[in-house]
């Protein structure tokens, strides 16, 4: 009997599909700056090899009467020189196409992924593997001449990183690889008898409950502005030395992510003329659930938490904002809160609503839910943390980058060796917030290097000169 080659799209991923628009394509990008110009032939070979291991990446998205589904395709990915704006749409309902692309330009390699397929962490595994294969193929002499002891050490380091996700469980079939991570966690938990999970909760649970009581009392500030002419995101990429920024966060007794979020809030308050003294800023923060629950799934496996700060309640110093955000984050990561959120996500997977309602109706409902959730959100951030590679490979990669398509201003952060990259993306032309953020950092003695893309006709024209 032929093995099943399709999986119904999970509800958590359905929301990305419903929420994707021309400007917010729900595509995110991981990039690496290599030490030398990229060799497209080697990159293609590396991609071919890794692609064969990741069956999830063979998926195309199809529409049925009741649901969307991921179907295994025979398509092969082709690396392309970057000639479109970042995070261009990857899914078109009338085309059968892969849900990711690999691009290169000069010294950079980019992986762009449609969020329906995977989250940042899942995509990072794939990207790390492509980079490692690429380095092996591009510099074979370096690895063949290695002394045996070093070869063993490297083997161990590789084993510790990418292979572990697969070798732990043996090779996966397409349906195993493409199955919702939330369903996989139920399977694992049932077997281990660890988590009590309740299914079949009401669909209204899709709506973010934490914002309901807030609506009456607080005014959530929303950033407005002139959109970029062709809907490309405004990208402001900041390279910061970790050794200079980390101590600043430590001074406040908070993580780097919380510290930079506090600066982001301050930058918004300082630069928004219509910001009122008692306005609230709300940020959405995805939390990688793999840190808390065992899962080797490369599918979406995160929960979004919302942090907020209302101005004018106390002295609005960076210290106060940091402390406030930090305690909210801590609270939301408590075992109990995490468990509640995971249960809700799992319940939504098992909700019969997803199976019996016609897909077009479901699309409309999900779009409405997404709009409701967004009404009370100012900005977003995403943090992929620190990435490392085996010793011998380190010098071949100079810097890593992470950015996302956006509906509202956002930053994504990732660090590698001593470099922290914070990439702002925004649907708006204006860069006042990003500029204020830079000033807050440089005033503390941080060496900031900024790269900004051209978005208006005038900028593009001037850039050509």
């Amino acid at each position: 009997m032929e093995r099943q080659k399709w999986v119904r799209l999970d509800n958590a991923s359905n929301i990305f599909l419903a929420a994707s628009t021309n400007s917010d394509t729900k595509v995110f990008r991981l990039s690496a700056e290599m030490a030398h110009a990229v060799d497209p032939g080697c990159l293609q070979k590396a991609l071919d090899k890794v692609y064969d291991r990741y069956l999830l990446y063979h998926s195309v998205l199809r529409r049925g009467v009741f649901w969307y589904y991921l179907e295994m395709s025979e398509l092969r990915p082709i690396v392309e020189e970057e000639n479109v704006t970042p995070c261009t749409a990857l899914y078109h309902f009338d085309r059968k196409e892969l849900l990711f692309r690999v691009l290169y330009r000069k010294k950079r390699i980019h992986l762009e992924v449609f969020h329906v397929l995977s989250d940042g962490t899942g995509a990072l595994w794939f990207f790390e593997d492509v980079l490692k294969e690429y380095i092996f193929l591009r510099y074979p002499e370096e690895f063949s001449e290695m002394p045996q002891s070093e070869q063993d050490r490297m083997e161990q380091q590789l084993e510790d990183s990418f292979s572990r996700y697969f070798r732990q469980q043996g090779p996966q079939s397409f349906t195993e690889a493409a199955r919702s991570a939330y369903r996989s966690v139920v399977k694992t938990s049932k077997r281990a008898g660890r988590v009590a999970i309740h299914f079949g909760k009401k669909t209204s649970r899709y709506v973010r409950p934490s914002l309901k009581p807030m609506r009456k009392k607080k005014r959530v500030y929303r950033i407005k502005g002139e959109k970029t002419p062709d809907q490309r995101p405004r990208v402001v990429e900041l390279s910061l030395p970790l050794q200079q920024v980390l101590p600043l966060a430590r001074q406040q007794n908070v993580s780097l992510m919380i510290y930079l979020t506090a600066l982001f809030f301050e930058a918004i308050r300082k630069t928004s003329p219509d910001f009122r003294p008692n306005d609230t800023i709300v940020v959405s923060v995805p939390v990688n659930l793999r840190q808390f629950y065992t899962s080797s799934s490369a599918r979406n496996f995160f929960s979004t938490t919302y942090l907020e700060y209302t101005y004018g309640q106390t002295e609005d110093t960076i210290e106060a904002i940091c402390e406030n955000l930090n305690s909210q984050l801590k609270n939301s990561l408590s075992k109990e809160k995490l468990g509640q959120r995971l249960n809700k996500l799992i319940a939504s997977e098992y909700n019969p609503f997803g199976r019996v309602v016609l897909r077009p109706i479901k699309d409309v409902i999900l779009k409405g839910i997404n709009r409701l959730n967004n009404r009370h959100l100012t900005v977003a951030i995403s943090n992929l943390g620190k990435v490392s590679f085996p010793e011998r490979m380190r010098d071949h990669i100079q810097q890593l980058f992470f950015l996302s398509s956006v509906a509202r201003p956002q930053f994504c952060m990732i660090s590698y060796q001593d470099c922290l990259t914070v990439t702002f993306t925004s649907p708006f032309v204006d860069t006042a917030i990003q500029q204020a953020f830079v000033r807050l950092l440089s005033a503390q003695g941080v060496t900031v290097t900024a790269a900004v893309n051209q978005v208006t006709d005038r900028e593009i024209e001037e850039g050509r000169r």
């Binding site: 479109v84 010294k107 810097q399 830079v438 900024a450």
Partner: protein, 42 residues
């Protein structure tokens, strides 16, 4: 790479003025080894 004295930041890429504050840039001759353009200009 250029430097913006107001933002106190180095600015990569082909900009006539600082893309963050629109101020004048100080031209610097030292070039960073990296690819100076975050996204291509199309």
């Amino acid at each position: 790479m250029n430097h913006c004295p107001y933002c106190q930041a180095d600015i990569e890429g082909n900009w006539q003025q600082c893309p963050l504050c629109k101020g004048s840039l100080e031209k610097r001759t030292d070039k960073k080894a990296s690819d100076p353009v975050v996204t291509p200009k199309y």
